[in-house]
Symmetry: C2
Subunit: 444 residues, 2 copies
Amino acid sequence: MKEKILSLINEGKYLTARSEISKLNVVDAAHLFEEIEPQQILIIFRILPKDFSSETFSHMSTDLKKYVIDSLTDEEAIRIFDDLFFDDAVDLLEEMPANVVKRILRNTNAQTRELINQFLKYPDDSAGSLMTIEYVDLKSEMTVAQAIQYIKDIGIDKRTINTCYVMDSSRVLNGVVSLRRLILSDESELVKDIMETDFISVTTLDDQEDVAARFKKYDYYVMPVVDKENRLVGIITVDDILDVIDQEATEDIQKMAAMQPFETEYLKSSNWALTKHRLPWLLILMLNATFTAGIIQKYESALQSAIILTAFIPMLMDTGGNSGSQSSSLIIRGLALGQIKTKDILKIIAKEFSVGVIAGSILAAVNFLRLYFINQEELSLALTVTLTLFITVVIAKIVGGVLPMFAQKLKLDPAVMASPLITSIVDVVSLFIYFYIATFFLKL
Amino acid sequence: MKEKILSLINEGKYLTARSEISKLNVVDAAHLFEEIEPQQILIIFRILPKDFSSETFSHMSTDLKKYVIDSLTDEEAIRIFDDLFFDDAVDLLEEMPANVVKRILRNTNAQTRELINQFLKYPDDSAGSLMTIEYVDLKSEMTVAQAIQYIKDIGIDKRTINTCYVMDSSRVLNGVVSLRRLILSDESELVKDIMETDFISVTTLDDQEDVAARFKKYDYYVMPVVDKENRLVGIITVDDILDVIDQEATEDIQKMAAMQPFETEYLKSSNWALTKHRLPWLLILMLNATFTAGIIQKYESALQSAIILTAFIPMLMDTGGNSGSQSSSLIIRGLALGQIKTKDILKIIAKEFSVGVIAGSILAAVNFLRLYFINQEELSLALTVTLTLFITVVIAKIVGGVLPMFAQKLKLDPAVMASPLITSIVDVVSLFIYFYIATFFLKL
């Protein structure tokens, strides 16, 4: 299908291409545009049915949107802009270069301009930045028949009509009623008698992660956003929440791999941008390794007389690091999903201690068998390495479990207490234990 | 509010408690039940309005559901079961002990029982396991008025009436029409003239990750599930997709921390279950460290004459591991979200090489300054460590970027090529380089 349309375009059969494209889902049409040659994009875009082209536009990539808006006449650009839902329009302005923004704002009326400026001010990760304004507002004294007629009159331009909002004269949100409820109710009933008053709402400055958590908890598809006086200012739809959930998980994964979080896609980020976000933690963790170097230097003469000890340092450090990372990853994720609370800290210590003892014993046993029987190392050496391994695993598990909990308690981001930091800490601990035990068993 | 209700219950004022609870959102009511004393749960549950108690039940935790179902009479249990949406009912049966399942199935009719058994067979991560059957089915020859009347007649028991499905006599899905479209259309229009035919569907055996990707791509709230003959068998609603997205991210995070993925929440998992999922990779990676031990032992005599080299092994290995993990995390996440494709491999190598050179240079410079000027180590040692560091970072970045791509190419899970495995590989590489350069600079 895609190939067919592309070849129609290349052959200059634009009208046939047009009718084929119009049959596509608008999302697929938008993706198709990414593959059309730049000089042909505008030709095709202009001959598409107007509604279809606006909808397709709203699903294009930022780069393509820039190209299209830049190439259109003012009049055409404004038409597209006006057809967008308000949140998409605000997002577009945030992504466009200043000259394009000016060009568009110049052509909108004062009231819209003011509203846009207000929306542009909401912090990036707030409920305000996710909301749009095309909701259906009902009055509590309306009958069901009146409400449905009202929806028929104004519904076409609304983001959703499936959930309607009942407000008083000062726009305070009193209730929520679904189109489903309206349709299934008697026409003469009053909206106030069928509306739900136990609805869940968020406020403009709520963090998007908390908003997503509410969507998940209450299985909502749309959530009202209110200001401090409980006046309705917008709605958030679940399709935006899908993106928020992905984005929050990505952020956590980035932090857990010792990076500062960033939103730009990998392939669209410059090399310097990619480096900038990775460098700080690499530097900090590298300088932190002064401690491990210090410990080894302190035991230099001991090491000289038992150089074989060196051979097992990487294994001990890696196993310790891996053990700790496993624990911290589970706890960080559990905290992010709200499955673990700070009050659970004692349970977590107990669990991680048990897991550490079980896993540590098995690892130690395997390790001892290998060192003593297969590698035929001396018993004292095999014991030193094995005992260190066991203690390191137990401590790593507890450190990995506890540090994210402390971070949460201190209102820091638990995701930072992940693999790399835990590894650094466990490195120091395991070296200490290693040399301490070695001095005892090997009589250094 | 919660405290007030709990104290009402403790004082035995059940009827007042009942009316307070009925004012709650059912999700909050379900959460409240988790805090009521076991002997009082049933008293409260039984006096709640029937619809309210069924809805509350569907939002309870698995443990509480088990307790409630177990304590109810057969008749009560069946009523609750019948009130559940089909997907929730199937999920309930999957979670309940065998005797409860028997008890419930014994009391359902043969047709339902057959359907339940069919649904229980869908693989855990498939579209089939997510779907439910309470959709509205329309005929293409219906008028809008007839369709709306039909929805009024049957809508009350449907999961959603916001999207309706138009099927022919053999249940083949021909089109989709939204309630919105019906309401906003002329009553005499025919369903077939207003239905969308460019709808997106999934099949029962599609992986839930792919289903979620389609929801995100097309901004759907409900998606039809069809069989091989394109007959409608169920629908998937977006609230279940929110959970899928969380679950898939959790799985990736678990794999990236060298664990086998598991779905049970941390606090609800036994210590042995937690250990079991962590042990295999810990063992593999521990035994893998034989290589690092081997390299060090090979260079033992060289090391003996320059024991100070040992001091920087942890720093080199950690920095290498961290550098590689950063790259692999970004690539794994990019692949999971579909932002990176296997064909991008050359771009990724180029990017990671550049990032490695920039980050490696800065880290090397800082490291040299510290070793030579602050620690006043010998120039040859400072150069050995610094050069190794630079090369290690560059190689780690490339290895971290490339391995997940190879995994994806080989249809393995890229998430396994994460931090721990990359660290193990980079350990070996960095030690080789270290000793190679040391033999040259320090003339070992």
